[in-house]
């Protein structure tokens, strides 16, 4: 028995040792030591990352959000808070015709890939034609809709000819900001690959960005600065002080645990957090700051203002009066007071109020419409009157009922980001007689896409500098039929020829055109009149910035290039390369 016990014990020890050995050798490699003072530690979920997926065209594993934005660069970036274009790989991108049907791109002559090859017109043509021809690439539809041809005039000049006027193509597609736009890819690498969608890229893929991945496993991604980054020589940037970036996988971890790691200076920044958590972090570690410093609302305006969407093809949401009645049941002032500490972020618009859009919202035409239509009004009595006019009666449970059915107002939402606000909305709607509940289940997004009865708490990830993109979300070309899946941000399935006509007339016009402004106001007025969805809040990104090791984070007081402070966004590279060491 003892001999057997010893044998079993020995086997256990051997198994443990083997596990550790397998673990150690599976990713064993030597990397240079970089001190903590030169290392930036970021907490982000790498759960869905496909290890070694660095090729922007690989599917479905690639996403820029997991550090790949440090590798790939665009023709232009955009500083949203300064309302400024930031030329990058391109020195200029100008429309060469008044009707926006041709665009000339001039590249920076010093732009290079990490293997020493120049970034040239061939790469731009390859990138654009790839999007045009490869149906699986994210901007294929946009290229297909607008681009007629792409031509390299010389090594540094590209002409793009559009099929129809494309005044917003340069900004929406060719400029990287937040999470939209395309980077330029190397023709001499991807052009040699048989199937670009299946080619992962690996850690050695030539790229133009400043950081190169050197380690990628289930727990982290490590990037090292390459000293030969072209942007320094070209004068676009100073030599970054961040020599190493470590993205630590926080998938599955509790928010509190991540917050503890920030407070303990284990991490320099992490995902955006809820107000109470950020407040606690800031109170416990004075080195931690936010976009608004140590004061509420602790965050910056994101491009994703949330609304209660609904499938306007399903009863009773086909009736604008019912939709309006729901909006009248929402007390935005109370929401702002209780949940957002009077940060003033509840909204009546389907777009974020960045400077250019704030200007539009403040225009006399829009103000007049606001005055007339009162889109943010809270009036339970008027809500009740509208429901009665729509043929509903109150049942003994104080719920609106018609033909034996109550108004299903279950809100599909995401617990991680909506757990603070949606329960409030549920109560407000219930008080107004709507049969409301919340679904935070894993099927929430699928329900939105399938257009189930009820409401969907989701953002309008569209407009940034003019209202067209947001208003275009409700064009009938996106009105998917019942039974089919609606695309992202197109959950309303709204269809109105009159509305379509306004948008169609706007499409070829630049935002500076007075007629565009007129039409935009008209479309916004129709959005309010029809109550296509119920706008609720602007979205805040409350990101903790730990200044123990790194300062010069983009904040309200220190806007820098005017980009948002999300290190995971396309503009994250600009955030990281402008950080300054707090412990030089």
């Amino acid at each position: 028995m003892i001999r057997k016990f010893k044998t079993i014990s020995a086997l256990i020890v051997l198994l443990s040792f083997l596990s550790l050995t397998v673990l150690s050798t599976s990713a064993a490699q030597d990397i240079p030591d970089v001190p903590r003072e030169e290392t930036l530690v970021l907490g982000w979920s790498l759960a869905n990352a496909v290890v070694d997926s660095t090729n922007p065209w690989s599917l479905p594993g690639y996403t820029h959000q997991q550090g790949n934005a440090f590798m790939w660069e665009p023709l232009y970036y955009y500083g949203i808070f300064n309302s400024e274009e930031i030329p990058w790989l391109a020195d200029s991108m100008e429309y060469t015709s008044d009707d926006f049907t041709s665009l000339e791109i001039k590249l920076n002559p010093l732009a290079k890939w990490s293997d020493g090859e120049a970034v040239n017109a061939e790469d731009v043509v390859f990138t654009f034609e790839g999007q045009m021809n490869n149906t699986t690439l994210p901007y294929h539809a946009a290229f297909n809709q607008f681009v007629e041809s792409v031509e390299a005039v010389d090594d540094l000049t590209v002409n793009v000819t559009f099929k129809i006027p494309a005044p917003r193509f340069k900004f929406e597609v060719l400029t990287l900001k937040f999470d939209t736009g395309i980077p330029i890819v190397p023709a001499h690498v991807l052009g040699e690959v048989e199937n670009v969608n299946e080619f992962l890229g690996g850690l050695d893929i030539p790229h133009s960005g400043p950081y190169t991945p050197i380690v990628w496993d289930l727990t982290q991604k490590i990037y090292d600065l390459r000293e030969d980054w072209w942007a320094v020589e070209a004068g676009r940037a100073e030599v970054p002080e961040v020599k190493r970036i470590v993205m630590s996988n926080i998938e599955g971890q509790q928010m509190d645990n991540i917050a503890q790691r920030i407070v303990n200076n284990e991490m320099d920044a992490a995902l955006d957090m809820r107000s109470s958590v950020i407040k606690s972090i800031v109170e416990q570690n004075p080195s931690v700051t936010t976009h608004s410093g140590d004061q509420p609302p602790y965050g910056y305006l994101d491009w994703w203002p949330n609304a209660l969407w609904m499938n306007t093809q399903l009863e009773p949401y086909t009736d604008p009066n019912v939709r309006r009645a729901m909006s009248l049941a929402i007390n935005r002032e109370l929401l702002d007071d209780i949940i957002y500490e009077n940060a003033g972020i509840t909204t009546i618009y389907p777009f974020p109020l960045y400077p250019a859009l704030q200007e539009f919202a403040d225009s006399p035409a829009v103000k007049a419409l606001e005055e007339e239509l009162q889109p943010g009004l809270y009036d339970p009595e008027q809500s009740a009157a509208l429901m009665e006019a729509a043929g509903f009666t109150m049942n003994r449970d104080d719920l609106w009922e018609k033909d034996g059915e109550t108004v299903s107002a279950t809100i599909q939402a995401f617990e991680q980001i909506h757990s603070d606000i949606v329960p409030f909305l549920v109560e407000m709607l219930r008080n107004a007689g709507f049969d409301s509940d919340v679904n935070f289940g894993a099927d929430a997004y699928q329900n939105m896409a399938d257009g189930v009865t009820g409401l969907y708490m989701f953002g309008h990830g569209a407009s940034l500098i003019d209202p067209y993109a947001a208003l275009e979300l409700y064009h009938s070309r996106y009105s998917a039929q019942i039974g089919s899946s609606a695309g992202n941000n197109r959950f309303s399935r709204y269809s109105n020829p009159e509305y379509d006509a306004i948008l169609d007339e706007m499409a070829p016009l630049g935002a500076d055109d007075p007629r565009f402004q007129e039409l935009a106001a008209e479309a916004l007025g129709m959005y309010w009149t029809e109550q296509i969805d119920v706008p609720i809040i602007q979205w805040l990104h409350r990101i903790p910035y730990n200044q123990t090791y790194w300062t010069n984070w983009p904040t309200a007081e220190n806007p820098g290039l005017g980009v948002n402070g999300a290190f995971w966004a396309h503009t994250g590279m600009l955030v990281v390369t402008n950080l300054e060491s707090a412990q030089p």
Binding site: P138, D179, T180
Partner: protein, 332 residues
């Protein structure tokens, strides 16, 4: 070795695996969720995909993964691939294979959960046996029974408390992770110590949370065995107390505990899901949790199949181990 019995057991093992695989195959399919669409929808949420292309891309990849075939045909393909030991590719992390995901994560699960399960078993049974042994000093009996206090506390809760007080407030041990951020796994002594430091808190939580159960059960067995004739006989023969404890008392009390250990090992991955999440460990539980969230059929099937095979095999091994431990037991 009775080959007839061995063959019967192996056939039974195959049947168990088949049944488990079949149930596992159909359960996720009861949900209307399409993991390919969800993956691309998630990518679309982060910017880029237009709705027109989304459906086309989803259809393309659904065809590639065989999701557009009739369900029974998919089931047949699935069974055939299992017979060839091919667990397929992850739908969510394509082209990563399921075997690769299991291979990368398994060492962490074995390293922590398996080891702590066995440590709890050994520690708990020793303490339980000593708690019931009449010749044990009172202080030792008190220590043994004090572990029972933790029995009602879930290891997850213990883990959260340990993280908060030991890791966050006192800063004595790391707050989570398998090793220090920025460290690359290697064979150095420093790395080994780093891993050990990171495994201490979860290890303590898991051991504390489960050792009490073994103490109670072993103590109960020990009390029963004390009154047996062979123990009395051994005492009257003049054998030393250590010999009696080890060869007559402990050995006989252990038999039911071995079965309990097999069952506890079967719970390794299920408990790993939450524990690994709390402590940010990249083990099998984390991979399974992620797969369930994204409805990644292939990974769910692969991991559940892996667990099923492991547990079923373990049961067969335990059954054949019994006669080795107790000569009175013969395979039936």
């Amino acid at each position: 070795m009775n080959y007839r019995i061995l063959t019967k057991r192996l056939l039974f093992l195959v049947m168990v695996i088949w049944a488990a695989s079949t149930i596992t195959f159909f359960i996720p399919r009861l949900s209307p969720r399409n993991p390919v669409r969800e993956r691309f929808a998630e990518l679309a949420r982060t910017g880029g995909f237009s709705p027109e292309d989304l459906e086309a891309i989803v259809a393309d990849y659904s065809t590639r993964f065989g999701l557009d075939k009739p369900l029974l045909q998919q089931y047949g393909d699935y069974m055939w691939s299992i017979a060839r030991f091919d667990l397929g590719v992850s739908l969510n992390k394509f082209p990563k294979t399921v075997m690769e995901l299991i291979a990368e994560s398994l060492p962490w699960t074995i390293g922590l959960i398996l080891i702590t399960t066995i440590l709890s078993f050994i520690l708990g049974n020793w303490l339980g046996a000593l708690a019931a042994w009449p010749k044990s000093p009172d202080w030792l009996k008190n220590i043994a029974t004090s572990f029972v206090l933790f029995q009602g506390v879930p290891p997850v809760l213990l883990g959260i408390l340990l993280i908060f007080f030991v890791g966050f407030r006192l800063k004595l041990l790391p707050l989570g992770g398998a090793y220090s951020i920025g460290t690359v796994p290697n064979l150095s002594f420093e790395f080994f110590i780093d891993v050990l430091r990171h495994q201490l808190l979860p290890g303590i939580a898991l051991v504390l949370g489960s050792v009490g159960g073994w103490v109670i059960s072993m103590r109960g067995m020990g009390v029963t065995i004390q009154g047996e004739d062979y123990v009395t006989f051994a005492e009257h023969k003049g054998l030393g107390p250590k010999t009696i404890f080890r060869d007559y008392y402990l050995r006989n009390a252990m038999l039911p505990q071995i079965t309990g250990l097999a069952l506890a090992l079967g719970n390794v991955v299920t408990s790993a899901i939450v524990v690994e999440g709390i402590f940010a460990l990249p083990g099998l539980g984390t991979i399974l949790f992620s797969a369930i969230r994204s409805n990644d059929f292939s990974v769910i099937y692969g991991i559940v199949l892996f667990i099923t095979i492991a547990i079923a095999t373990l049961m067969v091994v335990v059954e054949f181990l019994y006669p080795l431990l107790d000569p009175r037991i013969k395979p039936q």
